[in-house]
Symmetry: none
Subunit: 219 residues, 4 copies
DNA sequence: AATGAATGAGCTTTCATTCAT
DNA sequence: GATGAATGAAAGCTCATTCAT
């Protein structure tokens, strides 16, 4: 905005500001994951970020705004991830549903710390409309994408299911698998992937074999 | 909800210890659901129970112990509910899976306030071993019951799926549907039931028709 | 007072009341000695007495009054002890000073628990006039007795000291020895007796030999 | 006393850590002396220091640690005082015992507020090992110094007493005189000095005359 | 006479926020 | 842009006291 007006090191300050903010957001995610939402203090966050006590209020005004921006950051990152996975899958509906389902189990979006932090925010969202609105703003897009692909799968596979219901089922399963991963230990992610493949096999037998491996595509 | 009845009762002193404890536990569940875990104070709980400030420390020693006993109470109640539903279903595997799946969507165990409180505790469990141990102590029994019935369904229906995987799928779906219900508004429970029936239809087509209605049983 | 009027078990109730009060006073002394003045609660006292929570307020009205009566009890007991020792010593000044000094080191008045409780009350007395008045009401008599005997000793022994000063010295030493006993462990009492005898020997050499043993009396 | 100066200072923020800590320690001593140990609250201390409520926890973490550091401060100050007095007295044993005895009655170490606070801590020490360890850590040095000088006095004066016993006597007398000063009012310190001089005269007649005035030294 | 559940004032402690530097 | 000493509201907890039984 006023970058060009600033004579010394144009754009430097604003970038630095953004860098600090992201640094604090990442420290917040890590702290919530490590100590839990209710035990997270700004002192914890500033220690995790290696900065001073007053830093959060300086950059975010209040704890509340830090949390809101942290949640926003997570939502954006999550949406970017599945959108990119969906784009990379190409036009084949089976490849698309596989991408949507499996990308959700990537360490990138559901590492232990991300899952713990997601659940912390979801829980808070139960009583906080502002959190709720943020949480599900992008998520509705994800659910819609799943439903759309389910529709394509039904049309392509000659099955008779209701895409909305089956999409909701897949979506619910994904969230349930996240909860399992939060609870479970080391092998939980691999186990979750197996379950997801079993779901693909059971729900879309014309597109996936019994192991959940995608059958030869349409091409 | 009906806790407020106590507020105007004149002779409310000298209730038995157990009565007071359950009263406080119910007030705790209601308060967590209404204000969120991190915003719940003992003052809130005592107001919700219609009692005095020091009452929680008197009966539970500390906030922490109140929470632990509240969680224990919920676990016990939850387990009793599905065990009783399973027992009532009789021997037919299809009836049993239907009972296990649908009882989980009963208002008795997943009213809005129960779901919100469950998620609050699950989130805390991510960083607290004592909560975690409590949360999943009975739940493992529920998952095992689902898996066992899935095995019976496969044997009876001539399908080839892996009962452990499909059981885990069903279980994950249930938890995902709870999350949906927490997020969603009024019609969420009915919607969740539809999804659950669609899952039964898709996963066990030899036992349930396309609407998720159980086909004529073995008798 | 109304003993005779009470037809059933005359005098029983009043006696029972006094028994309870002394029981509670003794429990108070024990608790102060064990936990310290500032950490002593009425709950502690009632537990130590093997009685119920509300018992102290029932018999003493308030914690403060319990403490005051406890202190009064200790003062009375202490005064009775040295007066009786003094009476038993007979007319010989050397025997009298020996009795006054040594009786103060008897386990009866300065057991570990009594000393700890005495110091607790003395410390409180620094800021509380009511405690102070009680503490030193009888004690002035003890000091006066010492001074009087010191006067007799000087007259009998041909020494030239000031009885008031030497009496005050002896008295200060006694209190200092109590402090030593509070601090010190098992052997502190015997050590204190040795010091007291050394004091007698040094201060009244015509009446006590180098070991602090009384020389042959006047008779 | 002069703590109140801080209350109206405008720019009282950002004092160095050590300055604030000592300020709070002095406020603690004053408050214990004024209200007694058991009645001393952190609110009292912060008011006495002219600072805000949370200040003690900010600088000392807990009330307990404030008390411990206060006691440590007093011990250090006390030890520095008698060591310096002893050093100033030179080599003459009579001058040394006089210095040790009389410096203990200086207003610097036994002002009313210091004595009251010392007795408060000693009383607590009866039931608290950590206090006890602190209280007597330096004090043992003081007693040892007295004993050593008593040995020199015996050798120099041709007396036959046991230095350990007479040293313990002197030491006990000092503590007893402190207790007298705590109890007594205005003239108590002068009275205590007279008693101390009478003790020097009686115990070391070859070094002190009947008034407790040191006789011509060795030179 | 005695009990012990219940109260609520007052305490220590925590911590988001402010602001002089 | 960043620090960290200081604040003070609000929390959990303690415990003397009350009182129905």
């Amino acid at each position: 905005m006023d970058d060009s007006r600033n004579q010394t090191e144009p754009g430097r300050r604003r970038e630095s500001r953004e860098v600090r903010r992201e640094q604090l957001i990442r420290a917040t995610i890590g702290t919530i994951a490590a100590k839990g939402f209710s035990a997270t203090t700004l002192a914890d966050v500033s220690v995790a970020a290696g900065l001073s006590r007053g830093i959060v209020n300086f950059h975010f005004e209040s704890k509340e705004k830090l949390f809101l921006e942290t949640l926003q950051f997570m939502c954006d990152e999550y949406a970017a991830h599945w959108r990119s996975a969906l784009a990379a899958a190409g036009p084949d509906p089976a490849a698309r549903i596989e991408a949507l389902v499996m990308c959700d189990l990537d360490e990138a979006v559901c590492s232990d710390r991300m899952i713990a932090t997601w659940f912390a925010f979801w829980s808070e969202a139960a009583t906080r409309p502002d959190y709720r609105a943020l949480c599900w703003s992008h998520d509705e897009g994800y659910l819609a994408a799943i439903e759309a692909v389910c529709g394509e799968l039904r049309d392509a596979g000659g099955q008779g299911f209701d895409p909305a219901r089956i999409g909701a089922l897949v979506y619910a399963m994904q969230e349930g698998l996240w909860l399992r991963m939060m609870v479970g230990g080391a092998g939980a992610r691999d186990e979750a992937r197996e379950v997801a493949r079993a779901a693909l096999a059971s729900l879309f037998p014309t597109h996936f074999d019994a192991n959940g491996t995608r059958r030869a595509g349409p091409g």
